[in-house]
Symmetry: C2
Subunit: 222 residues, 2 copies
Amino acid sequence: MTETKGAKSEQTRALIVETALRLFRERGYDATTMRAIAKEAGVSVGNAYYYFGSKEELIQAYFDDLQEEHVKACQAVLDAERAFAPRLLGVLKARVDTMVPYHEFAGKFFKFAAEPTSPLNPFSAESGPSRASALAIYREVVDGSNLKIDSEFRQELPELLWLYSMGIVLYWVHDSSPGCRKTYLLVERTVPLVDRMVSMSRLPGFKSVTRELVSIIREVRD
Amino acid sequence: MTETKGAKSEQTRALIVETALRLFRERGYDATTMRAIAKEAGVSVGNAYYYFGSKEELIQAYFDDLQEEHVKACQAVLDAERAFAPRLLGVLKARVDTMVPYHEFAGKFFKFAAEPTSPLNPFSAESGPSRASALAIYREVVDGSNLKIDSEFRQELPELLWLYSMGIVLYWVHDSSPGCRKTYLLVERTVPLVDRMVSMSRLPGFKSVTRELVSIIREVRD
């Protein structure tokens, strides 16, 4: 019984998010009220507010759903591959795959994530769980691979890879090529380069640069 | 006569921008009308519209002014230094110096620049002149230095440095340390690293990575 109820609740929640996204896209964010979202989704206003306290929370839900989708989309490649480069490539391609259907939408909403005081920005406290989930993926890319690198650098590498993935998202937001072809190209072309640079981090002469990088990250991180 | 008139016109324009920035900060962007800006600046509404067709153009003017200020603030260090690292350090510190007074303000307005369809985003056609001016600074950092690097890499380096500076701006937007101390720290700590990596680009083993990077930049650039 409880499971059925939980499933129904999850279904209602998903329906509200989906409806909200569609209305935001069609009518604009400011012009869309919670009342309109509830009406269009066929639920009461009180019910809509039971799930989401505000329109902003609906966008947070979209970001969270996207993150969950990405985790699922990565699993196959993370289970199958041991080498660092194909693991990273698979994870980044999966990231773009999950985002592509929302390209027009994400362009409109990206600005919410860009405001430093907004709970929607990826560095905010509210985005903490989503950020932790994203970081965990890049930690698994590193830890599940056969990569041999300095242990200190290894600790910081997942966060660097996450920042790299954010750079790709930023490029994708501005990418107007058909099917986001150029973003895929960017991923395919930069992963081998990142792989080479990460491997080179062990070479003498590069080692001190790597250590310096690790120490900078630790110093400037919030 | 014309010069005096030009100076007065420039003064009025500056007064309108300054007043607008203050009102946006105090009352919020949406709540501030062109009428209110004109009234507060002591000019007619028609006069305000003569200078700026919309509120968005006022933000563009702010970004443009910031860029001009940066150009001026860089000149001393670019005239005095020949080595790459101090040139880059001076330019980036000057960039932060010019932005710091607007820290609270920029946080609020950053989201305008983040929207891909907005003329205010740094990759837009409208931001072309401002972007060209910014790129010219980083070209001068490289070309006026005694740096010895591969000629193909040299051509692309200014754009890479500009992207690096945008990364610093992004960090700055989120920096809540007193006086943006952490942003200065980030600049001071990363410039030597960038300098080392740029110099290393000539070493065998690193050369092919550099060439690969150049070819990627050319492929994925719009």
